[in-house]
Amino acid sequence: MKTNDLILQTATKIVLFIIVLFSIYIFFAGHYTPGGGFVGGLLTAGAIILLLLAFDMKTVAKILPINYMTMTAVGLLFAIGTAAGSLLFNVPFLTHAFGDVHLPILGEMALHTATIFDLGVFLVVVGVTMTIIQTIGGDE
């Protein structure tokens, strides 16, 4: 029986932005408040899963043409890259650097290489969760 999902789809279109915004906030707030790459990644994956629930898999694949296996690999590369980058400066593996940088548009920013490591965690978590969900949910 074909059902009419108008209410669910419209609510998803609005709620999705709140979830993605909150996941980005949680990702960046991870250094000083509870949060970080893992929770942010899970929230983003949750937003994509909500999209999968409201629409079908083909539509979501059209909206977000991402290969989640590649995403996992890129996340691992980010993590190993920031870890191995410290070897270039003659300090132990996984040593992180911190500094105040002046950027053209954004102005004074306190940048930390741990954020890049966290971005790797974020990408791995989103990639692995979405790979699991799509492998279970798909019937091809």
Partner: protein, 124 residues
């Protein structure tokens, strides 16, 4: 000023807790899925929103800290909880859960049966 804030916070928290209690009683006492769903999705939503407003006011007036996450939470619950109630009710109806035996009328029955027959024809 702080006294008014205190009274406001206490009133919001008590109203929220009372509405949540009403929702719980409704879920226990009402006869079928649809009326229970009605109690849970309406009363609990307003109860949780009142409690969140109380928490927002507490942190704003007592600690002097405006917490935008609570505002986002209020908006989020206001948007999603009725949709969840609607989906639960519709899923219950489509899987054939009976109405309360003293229900008077069911306007959706004809449409739903017509839809089912059409779906059977298409599947053949």
């Amino acid at each position: 000023m702080i006294e008014i804030a205190n009274i406001l916070i206490v009133v919001f928290l008590l109203i929220g807790a009372f509405l949540s209690l009403v929702a719980a009683f409704g879920v226990i006492r009402l006869p079928d899925v649809y009326t229970r769903n009605h109690a849970a999705s309406k009363s609990a939503t307003l109860g949780v929103m009142c409690i969140l407003i109380g928490a927002l006011l507490y942190f704003y007036f007592i600690d002097g800290y405006f917490n935008p996450r609570i505002v986002l939470g209020i908006v989020f619950i206001f948007l999603t909880s009725p949709v969840a109630g609607h989906l639960i009710g519709r899923a219950a109806y489509n899987s054939g859960v009976k109405l309360w035996d003293q229900s008077v009328r069911d306007d959706y029955k004809e449409v739903s049966e017509k839809k089912k027959k059409l779906a059977e024809k298409v599947s053949r």
